[in-house]
């Protein structure tokens, strides 16, 4: 009973400390509003709003038609460009795709001389190069068929294909990105806040002081974890309601309460990780540097920013050990696919297992670091 009271009290102390750091609160606010809204509102996933320039040396009706065929949302309106600028704009990355229609294109086409349209692709734009080239190819093929009076060919195809996306019919990139941003910010906050709070106590000598009080390492740790959990879960909930649902208008299909529960579980795992890192570092500057190679891979390689399946097998295994991988997968499943516990239990179990493991290791190290 006393133990619970201690944990409660120490946690409240953490909350009071947090309230007094106005700059920190400002960052917290930014993380759950601007940092969610901005990427989601201006989101670009895959071939979306791709920049195209059009070098038209033919100036015919067909070339104009081709230029106009590239439409939003996949493409920006094609910008006219002089031929001698082609290399320059590609070098500078100003345009990802530059299309070149040679002189006499239309005449050659009509004369059956099979002229070529050149599509230059900046292949360093990894997310768009390959797919975008495919789109342009199919669009141009259709236009050329239409022009040469074979418009009915398309309708005479032996079979048609309709693609439908479940859970996010229009493949709105922003929906997913908004949730991923929340996941990312939770990761940063959980690890950094607990880790630095612990080191701060050590640097200010308050940790020494705690140790002459009738407190155990477990109580000190749990107090830090619950207080951080409370703050972050609350911020997450507000952010989902106000920013994601309200301002961005994302229809979240799944159960918010299940998601918040999972968030709390994730926080348990990631704050334990933060404490573990803090026991490895001897000062706050060390911690800051140690946190980077842990946090940034969690942001980039958990399946939220780049597909998990395309990583080498060994790295996929490594990332299975990161709580963030399971959290990303749980977030997508719960929020977009409306999956319940009966569906997501394997990830849930993995997250809980990793959390407990981290907690146990952190506790052992924390005890040891206190004793020395």
């Amino acid at each position: 009973m006393h133990k619970l009271a201690h944990i409660l009290r120490l946690g409240i102390k953490e909350l009071t400390s947090l309230r007094h750091d106005s700059v920190l609160l400002l960052f917290l606010f930014y993380a759950f509003t601007v940092a969610i809204y901005m990427p989601a509102a201006g989101s670009v996933i895959g071939v979306h709003n791709a920049s195209v320039a059009f070098v038209d040396e033919d100036h015919g009706q067909l070339s104009r038609q081709l230029a106009q065929a590239l439409q939003p949302p996949q493409f920006q309106p094609a910008a006219p460009l002089a031929y001698d600028q082609l290399d320059k704009v590609m070098d500078s990355g100003q345009y990802t795709f530059v299309i070149n229609v040679p002189a006499n294109f239309q005449a050659d086409l009509l004369a059956g001389r099979q002229p070529s349209v050149q599509v230059n692709v900046d292949a360093t734009a990894m997310s768009q190069a390959f797919m975008g080239a495919g789109y342009i190819g199919r669009i141009f093929q259709r236009e050329l068929l239409t022009y040469s009076g074979q418009a009915d060919v398309a309708s005479r195809a032996p079979a048609t294909l309709t693609t439908r996306a479940l859970f996010n019919t229009n493949l709105e990139g922003g929906w997913f990105l908004a949730v991923i941003q929340i996941v990312n910010n939770i990761t940063i906050l959980a690890i950094v806040l607990t880790g630095t709070a612990l080191l701060r106590e050590r640097e200010h000598g308050t940790l020494d002081h705690l140790l002459v009080l009738p407190l155990t390492a477990l109580e000190i740790m749990l107090a830090k974890i619950w207080s951080n959990m409370l703050v972050v879960v609350l911020c997450t909930w507000l952010s989902l309601e106000v920013v994601v649902k309200g301002m961005l208008g994302v229809p979240l299909a799944g159960s918010l309460s299940l998601f918040l529960l999972v968030t709390a579980l994730y926080l348990f795992a990631s704050t334990a990780l933060g404490i573990f890192l803090a026991t490895l570092a001897r000062s706050t500057p060390q911690f800051g540097l140690l946190a980077i190679p842990v946090i940034i891979p969690m942001l980039l390689l958990s399946g939220g920013s780049t597909p998990l399946d395309s990583m080498p097998q060994w790295l996929q295994w490594v990332m299975q050990g990161s709580p963030s991988t399971h959290f990303v997968s749980l977030s997508a499943a719960i929020l977009f696919r409306d999956a319940g516990v009966n569906v997501v239990w394997p990830d849930l179990l993995a997250l809980a297992g990793i959390g407990l493991l981290f907690f146990a290791v952190a506790l052992a190290r924390f005890r040891k670091s206190l004793a020395s």
């Binding site: 079979a159 000598g205 002459v212 060390q286 696919r337």
Partner: protein, 905 residues
């Protein structure tokens, strides 16, 4: 210069609602010595800070050495003329640096030549008895030794005004004596030197001819010490102080200590041959003593002799190397929570929660010690009353003056009515009246409640009050007896004399500076360069560099972290989608449908899972993310195909992860398209005439569309945003949090020197990182390098200049290290990961996202890195990006200059 050193009129100063100084007016002739006395929280430190130019004057007029302190030009010319030693145990020192290096750093800031510096340092170290420890890091010194080092740092240049804020707090009597001898010898060299000292020792204040008395922000008396003292019959300054105070806030009854009854012979604390080693150094050497229950046992000794360490062993904070320690009949055990509840401990440095108020700290501890609710409220009120904390009960404790913080620590230590109190210099920095109050409480606890009290002190009148005292030196107990017996043993007129004799015997002949040997060097006084000074910049850079080099772990994290991230991102970030898990829901099951599906099955982009049998299963398996794509063939597909009825195949995608879904759709459409020809043949109807025009697609710069060729150089931009910014982000805020920022306020160091000096070592580390990353891209990942290496190096230099200065800006803006780390992470991650062009080309960003990408340096360096690696570019094409990066450096540094204040608010 025989005018006035100081002239103040109408000075007012407030912190928020709290009025710290009210209408202060006084003047002080040059060349005088002046003591500043007053209770804790009277405003002494605020006044000294204003005079030193460290705090910004809010209201009133203050002339220092012939000019207004508000005039920036005058203030600049004052820095070399003022030496300021702030309050606190060495908060302005650099813990990683040795004593020698600390002093040398200050010497360079004040423009001393190396020879001058060495000469002075030699004398100062001898005079303060620190020469033996010259190479020990300041962080490993005891509290009193830090004070002495602080004084050495203040005296390294020739000031006209020496401002010392409680310089001898926590300094042992022998060192204190030498300390004042040292100050006197400086004064004899510089007769124009004005000395202004805040002190809690009345006997020190009595030595000075001038005296200022402050009480609750008001100057209550100002004049010659002997005249002020003569007002009361005792002729003592502290009585005079009470007189001027008007009301008798403290009843000045002399403290009477009833004799200890010898009825109780239990032993409460016992140490037997206690030894503690740190490596070769023996901090505590076979210390033995036994303290009876209810006894007040004093621990005296020179600074750094092992008093604190012994106390920490007794509380279980440090394990003993040898010997045994018993507390209340049990061996000391760190895990014994029950014993902890019976002990109260107060450490030398303030270790309560600064952000909590006085009352909140007490309430927190009452709960942690499980005091019953009914009892804790009255108990806390009683202590707040007793320690005279009621007027500040709701203020954050961290901002309080030292003396008030000490009182709070004491209140916390006795809060839970412990049976044993272990107090490490509990009264250091506490004013005399409050000290007496505190002793009344101790006596009451000891005599009436039988509480055992073990304390260390440097005040001889306190030592006199102990039942027994033990003299410690260099880890050993020299003598242990009642104060009177010790005084006789060492033939001293006073206990202090006895103590000094004892220490001198133990140390051998005193190694002080001989009278002929003067402290100040004979050479011309150093001329501190005004405006920008490269020497000062280099001093800051070399100090920061030394700290970094000594912190091997930090260096390793900075370098290995970059290598680690390059490896996993180089392999891990790939936007290719392969082996997409798909399943078919073939409702037709004819040769035609199988032929159509075969194209998907044989593609490397798709990996087939067991087939689907009904539409509910299709939905369920997509929901479970077992499959990312389901192909649904309608019934009668083969028949309709032959009949030319255009059967419709449906592809179901998991839209939960849009990027993957879109890629999948692209693949499915491509395979379907290729399939059409085959289907047409099955159908034996020609699909179309030969294509009228050809489409030539040229993938430029990266013909094979290999992810790493584009991602690898891009990842450099990512890593070189995070690590350099994190390196510098703590640079300034750490000094703010730990206190050494005062040196920036109090020395001629300019803002630009400070910023650039801090940046230099981290810039060097970041350049090593850059070289490592380029090498890894080239040779580990085999990314072909086609462009100009010089351009990449130049662009890289500009980029790390920009990112390190961004870190400094965050550091100048934030108040705590937590905020700085979090801010760096949060501010850097979004524009670097999402808007730099690493994953999505910047040319397809619009609106706020595009703006954010433009306002952050990462995208520009990404252009440089990708451009030089894959596009064979050089400075002719990349100069706008380089210019932009340089612009960021200028902009960030400019903003830091604005954010960084040369005076405390």
């Amino acid at each position: 210069m025989n005018g006035l050193a100081l002239h103040a009129t109408g000075i007012n100063h407030r912190y928020g609602k709290q009025q710290a100084l009210i209408d202060i007016a006084f003047s002080l002739p040059a060349g005088t010595r002046c003591g500043l006395i007053g209770p804790d929280g009277a405003g002494k430190s605020s006044l000294l800070g204003l005079i030193a130019g460290v705090k910004k004057l809010q209201a009133g007029d203050l002339q220092v050495l012939g000019g207004s302190i508000e005039d920036r030009r005058h203030r600049n010319s004052l820095y070399p003329l003022i030496a300021f030693m702030p309050q606190g145990l060495g908060g302005n020192l650099y813990p990683e640096l040795s004593i020698r290096e600390n002093i040398r750093f200050f010497a360079t800031l004040f423009g001393l030549s190396k020879a001058d510096c060495d000469q002075r340092m030699h004398n100062l170290l001898l005079a303060t008895d620190l020469a033996r420890f010259a190479d020990r890091p300041a962080g490993k010194l005891s509290g009193g030794m830090k004070q002495k080092l602080g004084l050495c740092c203040a005296l390294i240049h020739d000031p006209d005004l020496l401002i010392l804020d409680e310089p001898t707090t926590g300094v042992d009597p022998l060192s204190r004596r030498r300390f004042w001898e040292l100050v006197e010898s400086v004064r004899s060299e510089r007769p124009q030197l004005t000395l202004l000292v805040a002190t809690a020792y009345m006997e020190e204040a009595e030595q000075f001819e001038h005296c200022l008395m402050l009480d609750r922000g008001k100057l209550i008396a100002d004049g010659l010490s002997h005249e002020l003292a003569a007002i009361t019959p005792s002729g003592k300054l502290d009585d005079a102080f009470t007189h001027f105070q008007g009301d008798s806030a403290h009843d000045n009854q002399p403290l009477v200590i009833p004799p200890r009854e010898n009825g109780n012979s239990d032993i409460a604390i016992e140490a037997h041959d206690l030894t503690l080693r740190f490596g070769d150094f023996i901090a505590v050497n076979k210390v033995s003593f036994a303290i009876g229950r209810g006894e007040i046992f004093g621990f005296l000794g020179s600074n750094g002799c092992g008093k604190t360490t012994t106390m920490k062993v007794l509380t279980g904070l440090m394990p003993a190397s040898e010997g045994s320690a018993m507390l209340l009949g049990n061996p000391v055990n760190a895990k014994d929570l029950a014993t902890r509840k019976r002990v109260g401990f107060m450490s030398q440095s303030f270790s309560l929660y600064g952000e909590l108020s006085v009352r909140q700290n007490l309430v927190l501890h009452a709960q942690l010690f499980d005091l019953p609710k009914a009892d804790s409220g009255p108990r806390i009120d009683e202590l707040i009353q007793r320690f005279d904390l009621s007027h500040i009960a709701d203020q954050p404790s961290g901002k309080l003056p030292l003396g008030l913080r000490q009182r709070l620590s004491l209140a916390v230590a006795v809060l839970h009515r412990p049976e044993v109190l272990i107090l490490d210099e509990p009264t250091s920095g506490v004013d005399p009246a409050a000290r007496d109050d505190f002793w009344r409480l101790l006596v009451e606890l000891s005599r009436e409640q039988g509480v055992t009290i073990f304390l260390s002190t440097h005040f001889m009148n306190e030592a006199q009050r102990c039942d027994r005292i033990s003299l410690m030196h260099a880890g050993k107990v020299l003598a242990c007896d009642t104060p009177d017996a010790l005084q006789q043993q060492f033939h001293g007129d006073t206990l202090e004399a006895a103590f000094v004799t004892c220490l001198e015997q133990a140390q051998g002949a005193p190694e002080t500076a001989t009278p002929n040997e003067t402290v100040s060097a004979a050479s011309a006084p150093p001329i501190s360069k005004r405006g920008f000074s490269l020497a000062r910049l280099l001093a800051v850079a070399s100090r920061e560099g030394k700290e970094l080099l000594r912190d091997k772990v930090r260096m390793a994290f900075a370098l290995l972290g970059a290598i680690f991230m390059m490896v996993i991102f180089g392999y891990g970030i790939s936007l290719d989608v392969e082996k997409l898990a798909f399943a078919v829901y073939d409702q037709d099951q004819t040769p035609q449908s199988r032929a159509y599906l075969e194209a998907f099955r044989s593609s490397r982009y798709f990996a087939e899972q067991p087939p689907i049998t009904d539409s509910a299963e299709l939905h369920r398996r997509l929901q479970r993310s077992e499959i990312k794509l389901a192909l649904e063939i309608p019934p009668g597909f083969g028949r309709d195909l032959y009949a030319g009825r255009q059967p419709a195949v449906a592809a179901w995608l998991d839209g939960g992860m849009p990027f993957r879904a879109e890629t999948s759709r692209n693949y499915v459409e491509a395979v379907h398209q290729a399939n059409l020809q085959q289907l047409a043949e099955l159908n034996s109807t020609p699909l179309s005439r030969p294509a009228a025009a050809k489409l030539e697609t040229r993938f430029r710069y990266n013909q094979d569309v290999v992810s790493v060729n584009a991602i690898g150089p891009g990842v450099m931009a990512l890593i070189l945003a995070f690590i350099p910014a994190m390196l510098t982000a703590l640079g300034i805020v750490r000094e703010k949090e730990l206190g050494s920022i005062t040196n920036f306020y109090a020395t001629p160091l300019t803002r630009l020197e400070f910023l650039l000096g801090k940046q230099a070592p981290y810039l060097a580390v970041s350049l090593i990182n850059l070289a490592l990353l380029v090498a890894m891209n080239r040779w580990l990942f085999g990314v072909p390098f086609k462009g100009s290496g010089v351009t990449l190096a130049f662009g890289g230099l500009l980029y790390v200049l920009a990112t390190t200065s961004m870190g400094l800006l965050i550091s100048a803006f934030t108040r705590t290290q937590i905020a700085a780390i979090l801010g760096t992470m949060i501010i850097t991650s979004l524009p670097t990961i999402q808007f730099s062009g690493l994953i999505v080309p910047r040319s397809s960003l619009e609106g706020a996202a595009a703006l954010m990408g433009m306002l952050f340096p990462a995208g520009y360096f990404l252009d440089v890195a990708v451009g030089t690696f894959t596009k064979a570019l050089d400075l002719r094409q990349l100069w706008p990006q380089c210019l932009a990066l340089f612009g960021f450096f200028l902009g960030f540094t400019g903003l830091s200059l604005v954010m960084l204040k040369k005076q405390e608010a």
